[in-house]
């Protein structure tokens, strides 16, 4: 009884919160607080979801593949550079402040340079998305090294473990929580990066679809497309968040 009640209570609160949110959203449009040019009712958005998804299916595919490529690239490079730098305390101290800057740079203003270097196909989108995810991830990778307790490593060595075993049994588990939290932020940052460039270039992908719908005031279609984009990001977000919680600690 004590275990079941909280679960129902949780669901009840969630539904209540969702309900209030949808109600306010719907009223805002119906009562004209917000002009229908800029906001569509929840019902309208849902009605347009399937037609938009069908129509934008190729762009959806492009965005998903671009996002996955960007996310993977950003994370892999972050892992490589992060580990390489993280090994030495010296290089960590030297480079961490520089890399921390990376989050603050308004990368959007450097878009013309991206086009210069990477052309106007999907490459600049992937690079931008990868960079967006790289910075939060690399900071996490480098600080994850600090999670490894030297005593545990010494103990493992004393017990006769080889370097690979130490890595698997001591180092990696200690670093895992921070790494997964890094993945969580990098994922969202990558997706936002991809979306923003697609929005700016307006050529391919869901960002381009949203751009065209926004400029021509196809409001319900636009929000449907946004819902579609958000669903993808939310799915990966949630998977990573609960994975991070599963791994227990989330320390820097």
């Amino acid at each position: 009884m004590t275990l079941r009640q909280p679960k129902y209570l949780t669901l009840a609160i969630r539904f209540a919160a969702l309900g209030i949110f949808l109600l306010v959203w719907d009223l805002a449009v119906r009562l004209g607080w917000i002009d229908p040019l800029f906001l569509a009712t929840p019902l309208d958005t849902l009605e347009h979801l399937v037609p938009v998804a069908e129509h934008a299916a190729p762009d959806l595919a492009i965005t998903v593949t671009t996002f996955l490529s960007a996310f993977a690239a950003g994370v892999i490079v972050a892992l490589a550079i992060g580990f390489a730098i993280g090994i030495s305390h010296y290089s960590r101290r030297m480079l961490l402040p520089l890399l921390a800057l990376g989050v603050t740079i308004p990368k959007v203003t450097l878009l013309p340079l991206f086009i210069l270097w990477f052309g106007i196909a999907q490459t600049p989108v992937i690079v931008f998305g990868a960079l967006s995810g790289f910075f939060p991830m690399v900071i996490n990778v480098m600080t994850a090294g600090g999670e490894v307790k030297p005593n545990q490593v010494l103990l493992a060595k004393a017990m006769g473990f080889g370097p690979l075993q130490i890595f698997r049994k001591v180092t990696l588990p200690a670093m895992l929580p921070v790494l997964v939290s890094g993945l969580f932020y990098a994922c969202n940052a990558s997706m936002m990066g991809v979306f923003i460039v697609e929005l700016a270039l307006a050529r391919h992908g869901l960002g381009a679809v949203v751009h065209d719908l926004a400029v021509t005031f196809q409001t319900a279609d636009m929000y449907a497309a946004v819902l579609l984009t958000a669903s993808i990001t939310a799915a990966v977000n949630m998977a990573l968040w609960y994975a991070a919680r599963y791994f227990g600690r989330w320390r820097y």
Partner: protein, 252 residues
């Protein structure tokens, strides 16, 4: 073997990159409307700071952006930490709202910009609100995660010592979570800056974003990069200040 201090090594690295960039710009055929050599950029930076540049009202605009960032961050940090505490302290509230927060985090906030303009207008308030939207989630998630990860043993120990709820919170939970919470506050600061600047770039009437856009559309390439570097410098200084405050608090 004498090793340079990390700071010096960092400076040398940056210097080498600048020299390479200078050589590249001077000897390549890339158009002047795309990149500028570091020497020109540094010269423009000096000009801008002594008001001898053609950048319109630099100090007034820079100050406006700094104020927007500070207000946005104050709001973001306050609400973010409080929300994080709420999510972490009650299992019911946490489990109920977590998925909602994750979904909201997944929505590309940039498409809501016209709605914000509709509701709030074209002044600094709009950019502040947008900065809050972009920066708040990182702080909420990190605060919640930081508070949750505390070893149950610590809490049991505190209980057995007879500590009350508030005492446990301030003397046990908060210090243990401090590192994670502060890391979230720093990442959130970076994202708040991005939010405010993006808002200024979307509605270009004031602030550093306005100046950056002005330089971009008028092809004042050196000024453009000079302004971006100055914006970065502001971020660096702010980061440094926040870091000092963090060290002070963690010690206390």
């Amino acid at each position: 073997m004498h090793k340079l201090s990390p700071t010096l090594a960092r400076l040398l690295l940056v210097l080498v990159l600048l020299v390479l960039w200078e050589i590249f710009t001077r000897f390549s055929s890339v158009s002047a409307i795309l990149i500028a050599p570091p020497s020109a950029i540094l010269w423009q930076m000096a000009q801008i700071l002594v008001r001898a540049s053609n950048v319109p009202d630099f100090y007034a605009n820079a100050w406006l952006t700094i104020v927007e960032i500070l207000i946005a961050y104050a709001v973001t940090a306050a609400i973010g930490v409080l929300a994080g505490i709420a999510v972490a302290s009650s299992k019911v509230i946490g489990d109920a709202f977590e998925p909602i927060l994750l979904v909201l985090y997944a929505v590309p906030k940039i498409i809501l910009y016209p709605v914000i303009v509709l509701m709030i207008g074209t002044g600094p308030a709009t950019k502040i609100v947008f900065g809050v939207f972009v920066g708040i989630f990182v702080i909420i998630f990190n605060t919640a995660a930081g508070l949750r990860q505390i070893e149950p043993n610590y809490l049991r120990l505190a209980h057995s010592l007879g500590y009350g709820g508030a005492k446990i919170f301030f003397k046990v939970q908060l210090p243990a979570a401090a590192q994670t919470v502060l890391a979230g506050l720093r990442l959130g600061f970076g994202y708040t800056i991005i939010g405010v600047l993006t808002g200024e770039l979307l509605l270009v009437n004031a602030g550093l974003g306005y100046l950056i856009d002005w330089a971009s559309v008028n092809y004042y390439t050196a000024q453009l990069y000079a302004l971006i570097v100055i914006t970065l410098a502001i971020g660096v200084v702010a980061n440094y200040v926040v870091g000092r405050i963090e060290r002070h608090w963690v010690r206390g």
